[in-house]
């Protein structure tokens, strides 16, 4: 391995002649560092950055081309002077060659920053509907959190922590075949919306992925400029292979999602209040959500619908309600190639039935992918990639809000009401929802919603990249590229007539129609990137230089039509024409442009010392024209010190790397935000037109991009023939001039304004260890562990403030706030605490009831530690992989725990009504210091937590350890190849995801069961669908 990295002078031998040539990969990208050796001799050289080599050899000699990560090739010389050859990547490649920014492949040794390649099998053995979810706990520094929001939901992706305050796009840039795009999570955000419509990662079929590289630091991303302030994930899709016939690959995957119910509610006391069970229909309704009744004895009592049913617990209501979800995915791919080019076309169909039956949640997607490479001439290469996705999401479950959606309803209704009652009596005589509880507006029966309420989202997206590359000279090329991203989406949803209210008639029966709402919107967007790149590389003795200059124009244009009406002439007919009142009726646009110029240079010495410099200038259309551009520099270097220690056989590889970069981002500054707009309301009132000022944000024309400065040091070591590998990185990332929607006094007429304020610091370490403890002829055990430690600290907010409320969980969100406070870790969960005396004892009033103490911070919602441990055992063709992952060091505020306590459902609510108890005698003191002896009615006592907003009992650690995945793979390729010649490969995999939750602190829920993949609702638990255990079966056949 070491030999190929240097340039070993060729020896002159008899009859030899100089042979020149170029080595490229299957996409015609020149490969650098390929060892070219005359077989059986010590004559060898390596290709330069343009893939070119020159070696002296004789006719009949065999040239051996080898590069780690690629299948070696041999070629017998027969009078040629020029040899052009292609190497094919090995499937377990990418350890050494990394696809970096702008799709340039580099040997990892040259990189002065962290770039980690995802193992493809991690994506395939551990399939999830959203490809990113399968990476949870796999890559150090990559924090993936999948919300519990149904099939087709987004994932939260954070690299090296949250780098900017909520409001900016904090997920890394996704680059597919050179096409950059935002992750674009359309996550639940409380009421607006209360469901998750997925993200752009959904539009990638894991079977199409050739490689995926995570560029963690700002240096890696510096060249992508502002959009990659949070790092980048570079995805290359598969291509066909040259010089091969047509091949067909078929993959089929079937997954069953089985609901995990972690609730462990009290099953002793039934519906009612004051220790009394309901005696009539009225009280059966008004106490439907209260578990403060008497001890359940199975005697019949009246339910909300007037039917008598046993007064008995229903502990399995959640499992009874949800169903097994399924996902069935089939992919067929056709590939082939000639000496001039190659192609691969694939089609994938994926259909998911979500676990939520009411309303019926289904998700389907179809993905068509095409990759083409062609040499137009010897010097002119053309490549084209296209990806077309059609997604259809029906009824994503409503989560994270108190309102429509089953999660909230199922966990907040008294256990003594059986699920069947809700199902059988969902509808009242007049066709409205039958009232089930005293929280009529917010606890909505999902069985009423079924068939009446809908959320439908269709999305079509086309991604296309065309690249033309001209090799001017063997050391110089020019490349032009055009990326086109076109998407159309349609969203419709309704509020059915009679939902939650007791009458289908609007306005007391006097109104002209039936109540309800219907909304439809259609958005059409394009993102176009046009770029050019001029690259040159040369070697001068021990020195090598690689220079590139490029430019990019990025344009984004989205137009959205929205129509929304309220109240209908014809009942239950949801259409715009049937609507009586217009509520929204508009067309809005989003348009911006970023122009960029960039250059980067790499200087190498003896293949062991590399220095990289980059610089990029961005011009932003959204900024004040007086100051609309920013310059982003970076410098990085690597030192492969093992080159100096070649005699030390125990050390296979040793590299020290370091980098510094400055990146900025205009993320979070919407276009036109410098101007105030007016609007005309959709309906007239008494024939008069109403005007208004659009929005509640005071425009700020003077915004600048925020900037991210990152430093990184890393050490990479491999010992004993790479049986033990070790990588450690330490970084510090400081984000300044953040764009924060600063809350301003409402008396100013507006609620907030965007300002360049505040700075954040992310500091952390990433750690990876891979050991091969056992390696026999037929058996191999690989164990890899990764962990990252990250703390995100708020360094400053606006001048004069040291505390900023990012999100108040108020009103229907019950309790607390998400707060940024200077000097503390980001995302503090904040709420009132108990009032205490100077001895720290909890003070109570003279009636033994709670008193409200000050607002305090209960800790950060962000985990400090994220990591995973994978063990893979391979025996012959059988491979068993087990993955564990964990997060630790964060806090969660459980509003479900608050509601469960005050409504008498959780086990905590038993305190005060157990045998011999007359009420809650809280462990506290009166103002005079005497210990409390008064017993308070438990319902009254626990309701005070809600009234007084005291959060102490509802704060938990969000830590968990999960046995995430187990996968058994049987590769039958050898067998089928021998048996049936036309089958080249066959692999079977069976796997289980979410095998076991080994540790958690949060009661009744999975600590990962949160609603949003955004940054506003971090650490806030409320009403999510249950998490699932997934059983998957996968078949892959290659013809």
């Amino acid at each position: 391995m070491v030999g190929m990295m240097g340039i070993i002078p060729a020896f002159l031998q008899g009859q030899e002649k100089p042979v020149r040539g170029q080595v490229r990969d299957s996409e015609s990208t020149p490969l650098e560092g390929v060892t070219v050796q005359v077989k059986g001799t010590r004559t060898a050289t390596a290709t330069n950055a343009n893939g070119n080599f020159s070696i002296n050899a004789s006719n009949g000699d065999i040239l051996v081309f080898s590069l780690i990560g690629y299948q070696p090739r041999e070629l017998t010389l027969q009078n040629q002077m020029v040899v052009n050859i292609q190497l094919t990547a090995e499937s377990r490649s990418m350890e050494e060659v990394v696809v970096t920014a702008l799709g340039i492949k580099k040997e990892s040794k040259k990189l002065g920053y962290s770039a980690e390649t995802v193992k493809r099998q991690d994506l395939l053995q551990n399939r999830t509907v959203n490809v990113m979810e399968s990476l949870e706990g796999k890559v150090a520094g990559l924090d993936i959190s999948p919300p519990a929001a149904g099939a087709g939901s987004s994932t939260k992706i954070r690299l090296r922590g949250q780098s900017a305050f909520a409001g900016a796009a904090n997920s890394p840039l996704i680059v597919i075949n050179g096409l950059p795009m935002d992750q674009g999570a359309r996550s639940s955000n409380g009421w607006q919306p209360a469901y998750d419509l997925g993200d752009n990662m959904q539009q990638i079929n894991p079977d199409d992925i050739e490689s995926m590289t995570v560029l963690k630091g700002a240096t890696a991303a510096a060249i992508y400029g502002s959009r990659a302030a949070n790092g980048a994930i570079i995805i290359t899709t598969k291509n066909g292979q040259r010089d091969q016939g047509i091949g067909i690959e078929y993959t089929s995957n079937f997954t069953v999602n089985s609901v995990l119910d972690f609730t462990d509610f009290q099953q002793e006391f039934g519906q009612g209040q004051g220790g009394q069970r309901p005696t009539d229909v009225g009280s059966a309704i008004s106490t439907g959500m209260l578990g403060w009744g008497s001890r359940m004895d199975g005697e019949p009592i009246v339910n909300f619908d007037g039917v008598m049913r046993p007064y008995a617990p229903n502990p399995n209501r959640i499992k009874e309600f949800y169903r097994d979800g399924t996902v069935f995915t089939n992919t067929v791919a056709l590939s082939g190639g000639s000496d001039k080019g190659n192609f691969r076309a694939s089609f994938s169909n994926s259909g998911a039935k979500g676990i939520t039956p009411a309303p019926d949640n289904r998700y389907t997607k179809r993905i068509f992918n095409l990759g083409l490479n062609h040499d137009l001439t010897k010097k002119l290469h053309f490549s084209f990639n296209a990806n077309y996705t059609k997604e259809n999401n029906e009824n994503p479950p409503q989560v994270g809000a108190q309102g429509p959606g089953a999660p909230n309803f199922l966990t907040r209704m008294s256990t003594s009401i059986p699920l069947a009652a809700f199902r059988e009596s969902a509808v009242a005589e007049n066709g409205t929802e039958r009232q089930t509880s005293g929280f009529q507006g917010t606890l909505l029966n999902p069985y009423f919603a079924k068939g009446r309420e809908f959320i439908l989202n269709d999305r079509d997206r086309f991604l296309g990249t065309a690249t033309l590359r001209y090799d001017v000279m063997d050391w110089l090329y020019v490349q032009g590229r055009y990326n086109y991203d076109y998407s159309v989406s349609k969203l419709e949803f309704n509020t059915p007539t009679g939902r939650g209210t007791s009458t289908p008639f609007n306005n007391n029966g006097q109104g002209p129609g039936f109540n309800g709402m219907y909304h439809i919107e259609q958005a059409k967007g394009t993102e176009i990137n046009t770029d050019f790149l001029v690259g040159a590389s040369k070697e001068f003795g021990d020195f090598s230089i690689d220079l590139s200059v490029g430019g990019n124009i990025f344009k984004r244009d989205v137009g959205t039509f929205i129509d929304e009406v309220e109240d209908f002439t014809v009942r239950d007919l949801y259409s715009i024409q049937n609507g009586i009142n217009k509520t929204i009726n508009n067309y809005t646009i989003f348009r911006d442009q970023t122009n960029s110029l960039y250059a980067f240079a790499e200087f190498g010495y003896k293949g062991m010392l590399y220095v990289n410099l980059t610089g990029r200038q961005d011009w932003f259309s959204v900024l004040n024209p007086e100051a609309n551009s920013e310059f982003y520099p970076s410098v990085s270097g690597s030192f492969i010190f093992s080159e100096l220690m070649k005699e030390q056989s125990w050390l296979s590889y040793g590299k020290l790397r370091g980098s510094w970069a400055q990146v900025g981002s205009a993320n979070g500054i919407p276009p036109f935000s410098n101007h105030l707009f007016y609007d005309i309301l959709p309906n007239q009132l008494h024939g008069r037109t109403l005007g208004t000022i659009l929005g509640t944000r005071s425009p700020n024309a003077l915004l600048r991009p925020f900037s991210v400065e990152e430093r990184e040091l890393g050490l990479e070591l491999r010992f004993f023939d790479s049986r033990l590998s070790f990588d450690i990185a330490a970084y510090e990332k400081v984000t300044t001039d953040q764009i924060l929607p600063v809350q301003i006094s409402n008396a100013s007429g507006y609620t907030d304004t965007q300002q360049n304020v505040g700075s954040l610091q992310n500091r952390g370490m990433e750690f990876m260890l891979e050991v091969i403890p056992m390696k026999r002829d037929n058996f191999r055990w690989t164990s890899s562990f990764n962990a990252s430690l990250n703390t995100t600290k708020v360094l400053s907010i606006a001048p004069g403030t040291d505390r900023f409320v990012a999100q108040r969980f108020e009103g229907n969100e019950f309790i607390g706030a998400l707060v940024y406070e200077v000097g503390l870790p980001l995302n503090q969960l904040s709420a009132n605490t108990y009032l205490r005396n100077e001895n720290g004892e909890i003070l109570l009033n003279d009636n033994g009831r709670l008193l409200q103490g000050p607002v305090v911070n209960f800790g950060s919602a962000l985990p400090k530690w994220v990591g995973g441990w994978t063990n893979t055992f391979t025996y012959k063709n059988l491979s068993l992989s087990m993955h564990f992952d964990f997060k630790a060091g964060g806090k969660v505020l459980s509003s479900s725990a608050l509601n469960g306590l005050r409504q008498g459902h959780t086990k905590a609510s038993l305190i005060g009504r157990r045998e011999g108890e007359n009420g809650v005698v809280f462990d506290g003191v009166y103002r005079n210091g005497e210990k409390n002896t008064i017993a308070v009615n438990p319902q009254d006592f626990y309701t005070d937590y809600r009234n007084l907003q005291i959060a102490d009992p509802f704060i938990f650690k969000s830590d968990f350890i999960k046995f995430r995945n187990i996968a058994l793979t049987y590769n039958l390729s050898d067998y089928v190849k021998n048996k049936f010649g036309f089958i080249k490969g066959l692999t079977l995999t069976a796997s289980c995801r979410n095998v076991a939750l080994l540790y958690k602190d949060l009661p009744d829920y999975d600590p990962e069961a949160f609603a949003s993949s955004g940054d506003n609702r971090v650490g806030y638990e409320q009403a999510t669908v249950p998490t699932t255990r997934n059983y998957a079966f996968n078949l892959n056949i290659i013809f």
């Binding site: 007049n430 939650g500 430019g551 217009k582 009132l685 000022i693 008396a747």
Partner: protein, 512 residues
């Protein structure tokens, strides 16, 4: 040398693209956005959005209404709790709507000298909105309010409540005087935009302005009676409202519902009329009662059933009780359906989402004049004004949905006015007049709350639940919690100036 080449190349590209941001101004211009607007359209919307209080806010403080349930976050003025949820509606609604729109519209209209009448109407209406803010909170942002975009004032100072009143006086005087019958006619105006001519509209607005000035003057009754007298005289001399035709009110529709009535419909069984108010209606056989109070078989089925409006069957929920301890009340009336067997709003009429909101009325004006006459500040008969105020109040009910054109007959009015507990007598004049003011403003809690503090009437018994106010009444609403964190410096200064930020602090005109 090669490097030089590249640098040259780079330089060339930069030069070629030095217009790197050339088209950016076009790119960043939203051609679908509205950037110019007729200020009159903002004004009409401001009229529509003017806030008159909330059932669970002001009407609860003055014991007309109560949310009987303590289920968490529902404890506010009903249980003597200082709950941000119930303090913020007025603040947010005023500043984010009427104040924001009027400040912007006034700025635009400043460039339009021909629209002097529009400008004056907006100034008068802005004075009205700020008067309600001062009455509710005391010191409030005034001179710097609503100017985040115009002047980049994100953290407005709080002006002294007394000083704001001084300025409101000047504004009203000046705006009334600037109106010109020969100038612009503002048809967008909801109140008088259909009068047919600028002259008629100006006359109406001048009467509105003077009626507001009368109200402003009356507020000084306790703190500076001499000033009160002088302003009241000035207002009456200027010409106040003469009939219900002059009332400033809004009627709502299916598309735009009353901003007052969106609350107590959901979980309606929480909400009842309060005992003192129902007792007042009952003891005087008030003909307005049938439009206000109703008993529903199921207090939650208020939209789908017809209430019993028989006066004798009406019972208000006792003040100072919640859903649990009301059973211990000596006259507990028991449960009904989902809730309790007490009177609720008549949801077909006063609780209707189409119900009109009355801002400044002939009834209010006449009742204030009755008190002024009783105090000998103005000429005329206190009794005549008193009776006219009552009749005017009764006539307002004709504008409610589901009431006949003559909602209350002359005969009903006559017999009510002569009811022993209603009939005017000088000895008891202040209580009689201001009790009528309380009833007249059942739909305008902001005004009845202010007048209750100013006059001390009706004679209500303090709510003793939790006794957080030590037997006192709510004297003002606390500032929104947001101000503490979002405008801390000015907030702290205001709290210092007010002498605290709780429900017992008094606004400047409300001295003990």
């Amino acid at each position: 040398m090669k490097k030089i080449k590249y640098l040259t190349l780079l330089g060339t590209i930069c030069w070629a693209l030095s217009g790197c941001d050339k088209n950016f101004e076009t790119v960043n211009t939203n051609e679908y956005g509205v950037t110019n607007i007729d200020p009159a359209l903002l004004f009409s919307n401001a009229e529509r959005l003017t806030h008159v209080g909330a059932w669970e806010g002001e009407q609860t403080i003055v014991q007309q209404f109560v949310n009987a349930y303590n289920l968490g976050a529902t404890a506010g003025f009903n249980f003597n709790e200082d709950n941000n949820n119930f303090n913020i509606p007025k603040w947010n609604s005023c500043y984010e709507n009427a104040v924001k729109l009027l400040v912007e519209a006034i700025q635009i209209a400043q460039e339009m000298p021909a629209r002097v009448n529009l400008m004056s109407m907006m100034r008068i209406w802005k004075a009205y909105v700020f008067m309600t803010l001062v009455d509710t909170y005391g010191d409030v942002p005034y001179s710097e309010a609503g100017k985040a975009y115009q002047q980049i004032i994100f953290y407005p100072i709080y002006d002294d409540d007394r000083a704001i009143y001084e300025d409101l006086y000047n504004e009203l005087k000046s705006a009334i005087a600037s109106m010109d019958p020969a100038a612009d006619y503002v048809t967008e105006d909801f109140f008088y935009g259909a009068t047919g001519s600028a002259a008629a509209q100006v006359a109406k607005w001048q009467r509105l302005g003077n009626s507001l000035l009368l109200r402003l003057g009356m507020r000084y009754t306790k703190v500076d009676p001499e000033k009160a007298r002088s302003i009241v005289q000035e207002a009456v001399d200027g010409g106040v409202m003469q009939s219900n035709e002059d009332d400033a009110y809004m009627v709502f529709t299916n598309a735009y519902n009353s901003t007052l009535n969106d609350g107590p419909v959901v979980n309606a069984y929480y909400y009842y009329l309060a005992e003192p108010f129902v007792n007042q209606l009952k003891s005087t056989e008030d003909p307005r009662a049938k439009y206000i109070a109703g008993k529903y078989a199921d207090p939650n089925a208020v939209l789908s059933s017809v209430p019993d409006v028989t006066l004798a069957n009406q019972f208000g929920f006792p003040v100072g009780y919640d859903q649990n301890n009301v059973a211990q009340h000596p006259n507990f009336r028991g449960r009904a359906g989902t809730g309790f067997n007490y009177s609720q709003l008549n949801y077909a009429i006063i609780g209707n989402p189409f119900a009109p909101l009355f801002y400044i009325t002939h009834s209010q004006t006449k009742l204030l004049m009755a008190e002024a006459a009783h105090r000998n500040w103005i000429n005329g008969s206190a009794q005549a004004y008193y009776e006219e105020g009552i009749r005017a109040s009764m006539d307002q009910w004709s504008l409610y949905p589901n009431t006949p054109d003559n909602a209350i007959s002359e005969q009903e009015k006559e017999s009510y006015i002569n009811h022993p507990q209603v009939v005017f007598n000088t000895a008891n004049a202040l209580e009689l007049i201001n009790t009528q003011y309380w009833i007249s403003n059942i739909g305008n809690g902001t005004e009845s709350f202010a007048n209750f503090r100013r006059s001390g009437f009706p004679a209500l018994t303090p709510n003793r639940y939790n006794n957080n106010l030590n037997g006192g009444f709510v004297r003002r609403m606390a500032y929104p919690d947001d101000e503490m964190s979002e405008n801390p410096t000015n907030y702290q200064a205001a709290v210092a100036a007010m002498g605290g930020d709780n429900l017992s602090v008094r606004v400047f005109w409300d001295i003990e």
